[in-house]
């Protein structure tokens, strides 16, 4: 067990932000959704391309298969001084979308992929725990931003590997909205431990298993990779 006193939550959060930074990456994922009544949906595949810096985080989520998913692309832009903005692109139009909305009836949410809670000002250690035999420190991240439906996140972080094995997201009333758990981790080329398979559990609604089956840690962002963020209309829902 980790002694929570020895963990500096603010320093750990800063380390998490730093570790998430990338000049370009690509991850292709298979997503399987099971309803609360165990009904399984047809799996789908998406590709996520990202560029994460301290000033700006950009992600492009492109549907791969089946056809219904393939026709949709989402791009999210988050900066330090503005709320996250999402543009959805289909074959014939670009439109603004909600960063907190689940994609393709799954537990996949663009805002979650950015893990922005590590940048929130309020970070504290509230205890220690184990997850699947991995000892971890419980870090509470809080925000007072009123427009944000998530106001508190409790992460179970293995401080030696800086991997959050379990992340619980709560609303303002401290209702648990979803839990993200890492089922399988792998070492990246840089030696960092990263999630390879995740489960997003939305209580009473669904269980989504996300498996990264291919990727590129040195993806070259092209000038037009995030072009839909510029070409899209500003605020059409």
């Amino acid at each position: 067990m980790h002694a929570e006193e020895s963990v500096d939550a603010v320093a750990l959060a800063r380390q998490m932000v730093k570790l998430h930074q990338s000049s370009g990456f690509e991850a292709r994922m298979q997503v399987e959704v099971n309803d609360a009544d165990k009904r399984m949906h047809l799996p789908f595949k998406v590709a996520v391309i990202g560029e994460i810096t301290l000033e700006k985080q950009r992600l492009l989520l492109r549907g791969i298969s089946p056809r219904k998913v393939r026709e949709q692309t989402f791009a999210i832009l988050a900066t330090a001084d503005a709320p996250a903005r999402v543009i959805k692109s289909t074959q014939d139009k670009h439109s603004a979308a909600d960063p907190y909305s689940p994609l393709f009836d799954s537990g996949l949410i663009l805002w979650d992929l950015l893990a922005p809670w590590w940048g929130w000002a309020e970070q504290s250690v509230i205890g220690s725990d184990t997850f699947d035999d991995h000892p971890c420190s419980l870090i509470r991240s809080r925000t007072s931003q009123t427009e944000n439906p998530i106001s508190e996140v409790i992460s179970c972080v293995d401080t030696t590997t800086a991997l959050a094995w379990r992340t619980q997201l709560f609303d303002k009333q401290h209702t648990l909205l979803r839990t993200i758990t890492v089922n399988l981790a792998m070492r990246s080329e840089s030696g960092m431990l990263v999630a390879r398979a995740l489960t997003v559990e939305v209580p009473g609604i669904s269980n989504t298993i996300i498996t990264v089956y291919a990727g590129d840690e040195h993806y070259q962002i092209k000038p037009d990779t995030f072009s839909i963020l510029e070409s899209a209309p500003e605020a059409e829902q």
Binding site: Q30, P43, I64, E189, A214, H218
Partner: protein, 375 residues
């Protein structure tokens, strides 16, 4: 009476115990045979694929512990390689393990440079090869065709892109028979890895000697930091899956050997304690203690010899059975060599000798006067 005949009769006198002991030994030996053959076969299949292609050296990124080395931009490395002495061709390869049908296991999708030597060893059974570097078509191995239930003219969707199967081929390597092959440019496009490859294959001219190969390796180390030139055998032995399967087979050999020796030890110990009077009588009749040791060790060696033979047969049958299970098809290409099977049999006999040695010595030390008094 012949000592071996006597030992044999002692074993058949207690058929239930003999059968149980032999079963335990044969299961251990079967596990050793199956796991080792699978581990060796996995390694051999990858090496066979590289050797069949005619690749002499592979240039890849350092410290790659994934199944395939992580992709890199080919043109950053190629110019330095083409001018090295003895290098005839430098050919890029991009590979991914992908699910192309939810009814079939994930399969290798290879992207090979169009018109390169990589294609030459494949035997086209029906259809044709791709006709240009950008033609959106697929050729598939016989095993892949069987698993996907596809024939020439059928469509296959890879990462959201639908393409027709234009040819079915056969390779001497199982890995390739279970794979889908496209041109490199096409796989780069589909997987969004423009210009990237996992490895660069080097084909050298026929005059290249071992020292020339060593020179090329050294030059790559010196001029291309972060990259390494290795032979296909070295690449395969560095593969994490090969390492894991070999470690598993070694662990199985160790555990099965320990369990086997303990089973024999226990059986022979029980046997001699039941036969104390009999052993005492033999010693009283003038048997030399060394002859008693020989008798007990012969019994245990016979047990493990028979268990070894049954285990080897069981292991071979088990592996062949696994090869035909739908989930395993195309993944197992077990290798059984005669020296290996002979080695396993020798191991089981050695286990018998060691397992029976202490009980045999204990039996030989029995005092006839005490033994004959025992009920």
């Amino acid at each position: 009476m012949n000592l071996l005949r006597f030992a044999y009769d002692n074993l058949t006198r207690r058929p239930a115990r003999t059968t149980l002991t032999m079963t335990a030994i044969s299961l251990g030996i079967a596990a050793i045979v199956a796991l080792t053959a699978i581990a060796w076969g996995f390694e051999a299949s990858w090496q066979k694929a590289n050797d069949a292609r005619g690749t002499d050296l592979i240039v890849t990124r350092l410290a790659s512990e994934n199944t395939m080395p992580s992709p890199f931009i080919a043109e950053k490395v190629r110019p330095a390689l083409v001018n090295l002495p003895h290098v005839r061709q430098v050919v890029g390869l991009l590979s991914e393990m992908l699910t192309v049908s939810y009814d079939a296991p994930p399969m290798f999708v290879f992207g090979w440079e169009f018109n390169s030597y990589l294609w030459e060893h494949l035997q086209l059974l029906e259809g044709r090869w791709p006709e240009s570097r950008n033609e959106p078509v697929i050729v598939i191995g016989t095993l892949a065709a069987e698993l996907l239930h596809k024939k020439t003219g059928d469509m296959i969707e890879i990462e959201g892109v639908e393409m027709p199967v234009v040819g079915i081929f056969q390779s001497s390597a199982l890995v390739e028979n279970g794979a889908l092959i496209l041109t490199l440019q096409l796989v780069q496009q589909i997987t969004d890895k423009t210009g990237k490859v996992n490895v660069l294959n080097l084909q050298l001219d026929s005059s290249a000697s071992d020292s020339d190969i060593a020179n090329i390796k050294q030059q790559v180390r010196d001029t291309l930091p972060g990259y390494t030139a290795i032979t296909s055998g070295e690449l395969v032995s560095q593969n994490a899956v090969v390492r894991i399967s070999k470690a598993m087979s070694n662990a199985t050999i160790l555990i099965a050997s320990l369990v086997g020796a303990l089973v024999v030890f226990n059986t022979m110990l029980m046997s001699i304690s039941e036969r104390t009077r009999e052993i005492g009588l033999l010693l009283a009749l003038g048997w030399h203690p060394r002859t008693v040791i020989k008798l007990i060790v012969s019994e245990s060696a016979m047990l493990t010899f028979a268990g070894g033979i049954i285990g080897i047969i069981l292991g071979v049958l088990l592996t062949r059975g696994l090869e035909h299970i739908e989930l395993m098809r195309g993944k197992i290409d077990a290798v059984f060599s005669f020296p290996f099977l002979l080695g396993v049999l020798a191991l089981s006999i050695v286990l018998g000798i060691f397992g029976g040695l202490y009980p045999a010595i204990k039996a030989a030390r029995t005092r006839p006067s005490q033994a004959l008094r025992q009920e």
